[in-house]
């Protein structure tokens, strides 16, 4: 039996075993943003410490940045203050910063891959739980808290226990109109929102092999919603193809590829657990409840044993079919589904159609370069002509720390990753997670719809 990728990457980055029994792990790439980093810089200053290797930390602004008006100072004084603090902290410490004016500003998990910072075999940490996204490249990437941001700034290492590895084999072929988002919602529904605690998920099998890098990112992104802190796909030709020529990709690219190939889990790699799923019959998925595991096929009934509190909050009943339910808001964006391929698929659904009157519909590109590319392709015109708002890049209504929020009990069809109570900015607002294609279809019809009827 041979070692899987996680074990190999772990060994390469392990400094030593700490007195507490955890490993001290070197973090090759550290990403930061405006919301979870200021306190870490504060703690560092308090102790008179400096950033050890500023060249291994990269910063952008995403969580709090407005997506309509970008004039400084921002209307929200607190947002302005937080972004200015990041600007000071990165400036004082010599950390590369892709701010609001930069061609690379965007959601931190979209920026990393675009710049070629996200590479196979790296350990990557960021004060954001969806850091698992970067695993799509065969990196070991995980979300951390602010105290660990402080640790990484000061020592480029952190204390961590090695997870077990569950191999997730995806067999079959996805039907037309069914995407990576549907697949990961299905995996979470099957294994549970806490099924991955203590595990890293290694995704593989023919469906994953056939997926684009962007779809693999969607899958790895939502791994944390299944309780696993790390999700990854072994690097392959698509990975190398994607990275080639990007700004921070290795200069001696062929030599790097040679090293990366050695890291991929071999056929006979050892795992702590294996889970296999055939997705040939998978339908487009939607959530009905208040966590991402409460999901079902778009035509299915809410289960008879569905959680009462979740049903009550959503205003749904057991046995109900959600298809046909009126929506108020449609949101296309986030680090899960705010990349160019997502916008292309959604625009294809929207082209030549109109958003249903009464639906507030937004497209928020995940990064400046996604926005630029979409504009070059004319996707923004398709969306605007249909009645979508075309916004500046950021996290926006995924977590509603900026002015984009649900109002009161509004029901939102959303391509984001969390349907938690209050997540989209209104304590009573409601979120239905689905693929961007499904959001586009639902925006046009004004009701939760099956995109396959429109393809």
């Amino acid at each position: 039996m041979s070692q899987n990728l996680l074990n190999k990457v772990w060994d390469i980055h392990r400094i030593k075993t700490l007195p507490t029994g955890q490993d001290q792990l070197f973090i090759s790439l550290h990403l930061i943003h405006e919301v979870t980093s200021p306190q870490a810089f504060g703690m560092l200053k308090e102790r008179g410490l400096k950033v050890l290797y500023p060249e291994r930390t990269f910063a952008t602004v995403d969580h709090i940045i407005p997506t309509d008006k970008r004039e400084r100072p921002f209307d929200d004084g607190l947002a302005e203050g937080m972004i200015r603090t990041l600007e000071e902290n990165t400036g004082e410490n010599g950390i590369s910063y892709f701010g609001p004016e930069s061609d690379h500003q965007g959601i931190v998990h979209i920026m990393g891959p675009e710049l070629g910072l996200t590479q196979p075999g790296l350990t990557i940490a960021c004060g954001d739980s969806h850091t698992s996204t970067h695993g799509a490249f065969g990196a070991i990437a995980f979300g951390i808290g602010t105290s660990q941001i402080r640790d990484i700034l000061a020592t480029q290492t952190m204390a961590l226990s090695k997870p077990k590895v569950r191999r997730i084999n995806i067999d079959g072929t996805l039907k037309k109109g069914v995407y990576g988002k549907d697949l990961i919602l299905k995996i979470i529904a099957d294994l549970g929102v806490n099924g991955g605690i203590g595990f890293a998920y290694e995704y593989g099998g023919e469906v994953i092999d056939n997926m684009s890098m962007e779809e693999r990112m969607t899958i790895c992104n939502m791994t944390i919603e299944g309780g696993a802190r790390v999700g990854y796909v072994n690097p392959d030709e698509k990975t190398y193809e994607y990275l080639k020529g990007r700004r921070y990709a290795p200069k001696d690219f062929d030599a790097a590829v040679k090293e990366w190939k050695k890291l991929a889990s071999p056929q006979d790699a050892e795992y702590d657990d294996v889970y296999t799923l055939d997705v040939s019959d998978l339908e487009p998925m939607i959530t009905w409840g208040i966590n991402p595991g409460q999901a079902l096929g778009v035509g299915d009934r809410i289960p008879e044993d569905a959680d009462e509190q979740a049903c009550a909050f959503m205003g749904f009943e057991r046995g109900q079919v959600l298809k046909g339910t009126q929506i108020d808001v449609a949101f296309i964006g986030s680090c899960t589904n705010g990349r160019i391929s997502d916008l292309r698929i959604a625009a294809e659904v929207v082209r030549g159609r109109k958003v249903s009157p009464g639906v507030r519909a937004l497209v928020v590109p995940g990064s400046r370069s996604v926005a630029d590319q979409a504009e070059r392709e004319g996707l923004h015109t398709i969306f605007k002509e249909a009645g979508f708002q075309w916004r500046e890049p950021g996290c926006s209504m995924c977590l509603a720390m900026n002015p984009d929020k649900l109002i009161k009990r509004e029901l939102c069809a959303s391509s984001s990753n969390r349907n938690f109570i209050g997540r989209q900015g209104s304590p009573t607002g409601r979120t239905i997670l689905m693929s961007p294609a499904m959001v586009a279809a639902s925006a046009i019809i004004g009701r939760i719809s099956d995109v396959r009827d429109m393809l």
């Binding site: 029994g21 504060g42 105290s147 020592t155 929102v193 806490n194 802190r229 509603a400």
Partner: protein, 199 residues
Amino acid sequence: MNEKIIEITGKAVPLRGDDIDTDRIIPARFMKCLTFDGLGQFAFYDVKYGEKGEEKEHVLNSPDFKGHAILISGRNFGCGSSREHAPWALKGMGIRCIIARSYAEIFANNCSSLGIPALAVDENIADELLKMVEDDPAVDFSIDLLGKRLYSGNRTFPFHIPENYRLALVEGRWDTTSMLMESLEDIERANKRLPAFID
């Protein structure tokens, strides 16, 4: 080195429910802050208050449980966002120890970094503890991290906590920075050996 956390005594708050996420512990709108001070007032804000700021009928608002230092809850506590604001908000509201059936990993990690023991107990014990506290809010608990036992009156209950977190707490190493800084030479070697990012 930090303060050694070996024994915690206090009364408890029973917070029923599974999968209580960090968005619920502290809604994102209260994360517009540059320090973690003062987050306690916003802990569970939307659980405790209605849209007009009126207090809801909820155990977290009940005078019976005000100021209690131990929080008891269900499965997968602290799931979702990695925000360290969540354990800071709990700390700010006076919570010094959490007892639940299980935890999301990042949250458990964050609690440890703040010196908050996050203890896991079996389902039947969680149920029993919740009931004990609901029946008598004044019941006292004592947590012994050396003996790995929870005491109340003449009863004892076992709990689980990952050994590394337990050691970090009892040995006063829960603030990890100084421990990590002991290996600066090895770190420098790793930094030279591992790929850098060249613009």
